[in-house]
Amino acid sequence: MRERILLVDDDTLAQDLLKSVLQTRGYVVDTAEDGFAAVRMLRNERYDLALIDYHMPDLDGFASARLLRDVSSGDDGPKLVAVTADNNALSVRPGADTVFDAILPKVVAPQPLISSIEQLLKNPKRDRAIEAAAASWRERGLSGRPKVVAFPVPTREQALALDICFDRATLATADMIVLLDASALETISTWRARAGDFLLPVVDLSGTLATSCDAAFGINDPLSWNAAAEVIGKFSARRALLGRESQRAVDLDTRLMAYLYVADRALCPIGDPASKLFIRYPGFFPANELGAVTERLTGRGLLRRTFVDRFHSCGSCHAHRLNVREECLYCRSPQLSEVSLIHHFSCAALKPEDAFRSGKNLICPKCRQHLRHYGSDYDKPGTTLQCGSCGASNSQPLVGFSCQDCGAHTDGEAASTRDVYSFELTNEAIARLTAQNSIEFSPRDLPPALEWELKSLSRDYHEAATAIAKISYLKREHVFKTRGTAAFLKLRELFIENLRNVIADLGSVVATEEDDYLLLKETDPEELSRLAPSLFKQCEALLAESIGPEFTLIDISGRLAS
């Protein structure tokens, strides 16, 4: 553990000098230019020791120390060390020996200063706790206390506890990320997607975010120590299996897949009342981009999806947090009440029961006759729903959704739905992730129809064994001008038809709106270039007019070869 030292000195030169000396010894050093600044910093961070210059304007070292003593609580406060050129003046000041833990002469050689500090920082109780924690981790298979990065920046109290169980480090060297509360979720998700490490486990220390994290840790729960150790071990082992490209990936698609591989889990939605979608996916990837990424990867056969649930979503803000209610058809108020209807046989009055009620009596509002005999005088043929808001009545309520996020209203029948899936890596994705050589994950820019065809061909043959050529038509413009668009399209259609007939089951032809592609199974590109001209010639010979078919080879990663 690296101790934190606060330097309080109005002389910046002396401050810098001292800071660099201490930093070379591995201390974390912050500086404050006066006592007030020191108090402010102490409020936000825990320090093990404060070096205070005795001679400062406004508030001298002694007063500053008293102030610091006041704001720091009990044993947790930093050791206070006075630095002064006038040792005697301070020593004789009453109370100085109780406020300061030590008084050191101002001009000091580095070595005595360092030893004095080391001496002061020794905390046998705390050191024992730290050693015990390291032993616990070693029992669970780690080399010592795991190196962690905490999000968000821990409070002084949190830092105290953290520094016992973990060794705080930078992202580059960390074994895991610990999450202290939900306020850091956004930070984590931005750098999961864009920069920073995406292959470290995130361990929940807040006690509320466990489902999103890879594990949860509670200092009093020995099982959680096991879980944390296990997840660190697993992540580290599986990271080693990833291809180099995957480890260094910068695109969200690859990052997501690499994370799923390393975490060895499926991307399953987790119920989350706090999310406006009611669900959240683990792994802290940005929720607004995840939909597009998963859809793209599923389309490319790298993720396999399984239906989980269907949500209605707000037409205005797309939130799923909707209040479902029966509403009045006219004013959309949910204040509906069911009222009985009374049918008075002898005058055909048929109205809500309220219209007949007069104390205990039922009196017909139309003919003022008393209704006495159910079944002979009157009956209750049904009920109707009455709106307390607009007074309208109707037998059929409407189902409506009111959005709890933006307040927008959507009629039940007009509400759009969104399906939620869980995703897992396909074998193909795993093969690519773990390939040690060049792998290609970024979209190949191939038209979907071609991707599809390629995929269906490679069910029988390895994808790489298929050669692809893009067909273009040199005389396209010419035919457009001389015979019109429709004629060209007809000729092109005939040409493709011929080509399909000629190659039969040796491959296939994919015609898209833009371009056409020729795919030949178990063929290498050279062979395709040799075969294509004669194939084209043969197929074009049957057309009424030449459309000048030419081909360009496409390599499997989507780049045009030549």
């Binding site: 049918h343 002898s346 055909a348 009055a349 109205k351 049904g382 109707n394």
Partner: protein, 427 residues
């Protein structure tokens, strides 16, 4: 000498006075019937001059355009409900709400109504688990709807594109409390009975009502297609128990001083009974309801007393004389004819029928001219049959209905209404 020649010479040999003696029935019941409209004009004008009858007038002007509601009340109408609503939505005037009531349907009516409401084609729907009859269903819809003008339609009818727009035109006159459209059979080609009804509807509704509306004597706003002013409905407490609820509400609106009107350009198409059996069944029901409502429930308007209204007494008496007495007197007339003239009675009857045939053909031609529809050549060949059918079939159906209702309260057994309602209906 054949019977015909014998009969002809017998008739030609009669003096004017003895001709009257032979043809008294025709002179008393058939000829005045056609002459009555003219009589009515005179009487109505007289009545208007004699009494300062208070008329209800709806508040004018309406600042906001009138809101319109169309009510579709049906029992087990799953097959026709959707097409009915869709055809209503095709109207030239479309700014109206549609209120559907499924009256104790056991089929998919309620589900279809709900779907139409969800789809925005209809505005609201009510589902009743127990059938209560059309009146109560319409009353429920009237209470729930928001229209100033409330139009009641039948599920199995379809409507001309401009029907609702034209019908609403009647309500420009603030004294009009209710108005009905013209009803045209759309299945006149399916059977002889249907074709006879096509001629009958043309004469009695398309032309008959057109004629009487001029004298403010529209006494039945057809249940298939009528509009009402909300103030008028509120005043009379909306519909009473059926059957014949359309005749009933018209009589009650008129009794309270509202004008009722017929709009010939608002056309509604309906399927009339295609077989003799169903036609007879329908007419027995209509005629029973007519005598029950006119001479039991609403007799007060024609009897001396506080509720007497001259204009109402006129049509009540007209119906009594020409429909009821005329029908009843026909049997003794035939008997008398045969008793007095023996075998000469037959040529007399044939002569009467020929006269009626001529009369009906003339009426048909006039009707074609008045309505502007190509009805004359289409129906001419059916006129002889129609004349015979009305004289010797429908007249006896009426007779049967009147006897059954007056002496045996036949309408109480009419399953057009649920039993629970029929059982305690007030008379």
């Amino acid at each position: 000498m054949s019977d015909f020649e014998l009969g002809l010479s017998f008739l030609l040999g009669q003096s004017g006075r003895s001709l009257i003696a032979i043809f008294w029935y025709t002179i008393l019941f058939e000829i005045p019937r056609y002459a009555f409209p003219f009589l009515a004009v005179a009487l109505v004008q007289f009545a208007a001059a004699m009494s300062s009858r208070k008329r209800f007038v709806a508040p004018l002007p309406h600042d906001a355009p009138l809101k319109v509601s169309v009510l579709v009340v049906g029992h087990n109408e799953a097959n026709s409900l959707e097409s009915c609503v869709r055809s209503l939505r095709e109207q030239s005037f479309n700014e109206f709400e549609i209120v559907i009531v499924s009256d104790g349907s056991s089929d998919a009516t309620a589900a279809i109504a709900a779907r139409l409401v969800r789809g925005g084609l209809a505005t609201r729907a009510f589902t009743l688990d127990l059938r209560g009859g059309k009146s109560s269903g319409v009353n429920l819809a009237i209470a729930a709807c928001r229209g100033d003008i409330i139009i009641s339609v039948d599920c199995d009818c379809s409507y001309d594109r401009f029907a609702i727009e034209r019908l609403l035109g009647a309500f420009v006159d603030p004294s009009v409390g209710g108005a009905c459209g013209d009803i045209l059979p759309r299945n006149g080609n399916t059977s002889l009975a249907a074709r006879f009804q096509e001629i009958e509807y043309l004469m009695t509704i398309s032309v008959g009502k057109l004629f009487v509306t001029a004298f403010d004597q529209v006494t039945c706003l057809s249940g298939a297609f009528s509009g009402f002013r909300r103030e008028a409905l509120d005043m009379v407490g909306a519909f009473d128990v059926g059957g014949g609820e359309d005749l009933d509400i018209t009589l009650r609106l008129r009794a309270r001083g509202w004008r009722t009107s017929f709009v010939p350009a608002a056309v509604c198409y309906t399927d009339v009974p295609a077989t003799l059996g169903t036609l007879v069944h329908q007419r027995l029901r209509w005629e029973r309801d007519a005598v029950r409502l006119r001479y039991r429930k609403h007799k007060a308007v024609m009897l001396p007393g506080g509720r007497f209204v001259l204009a109402e007494a006129i049509h009540q008496c007209e119906f009594l004389l020409f429909n009821v007495v005329g029908t009843v007197a026909f049997v003794p007339y035939i008997g008398w004819l045969f008793a007095t003239y023996g075998e000469m009675a037959l040529p007399v009857l044939i002569a009467i029928q020929l006269g009626l045939l001529l009369n009906d053909a003339t009426m048909l031609a006039l009707a074609a001219v008045i309505t502007g529809r190509p009805a004359f050549w289409r129906n001419l060949a059916y006129v002889p049959g129609y004349s015979l059918f009305s004289s010797y079939v429908m007249r006896f159906v009426r007779l049967w209905a009147y006897g059954q209702e007056w002496f045996f309260f036949g309408s109480i057994r009419d399953n057009y209404l649920p039993r629970k309602v029929r059982a305690i209906r007030r008379w």
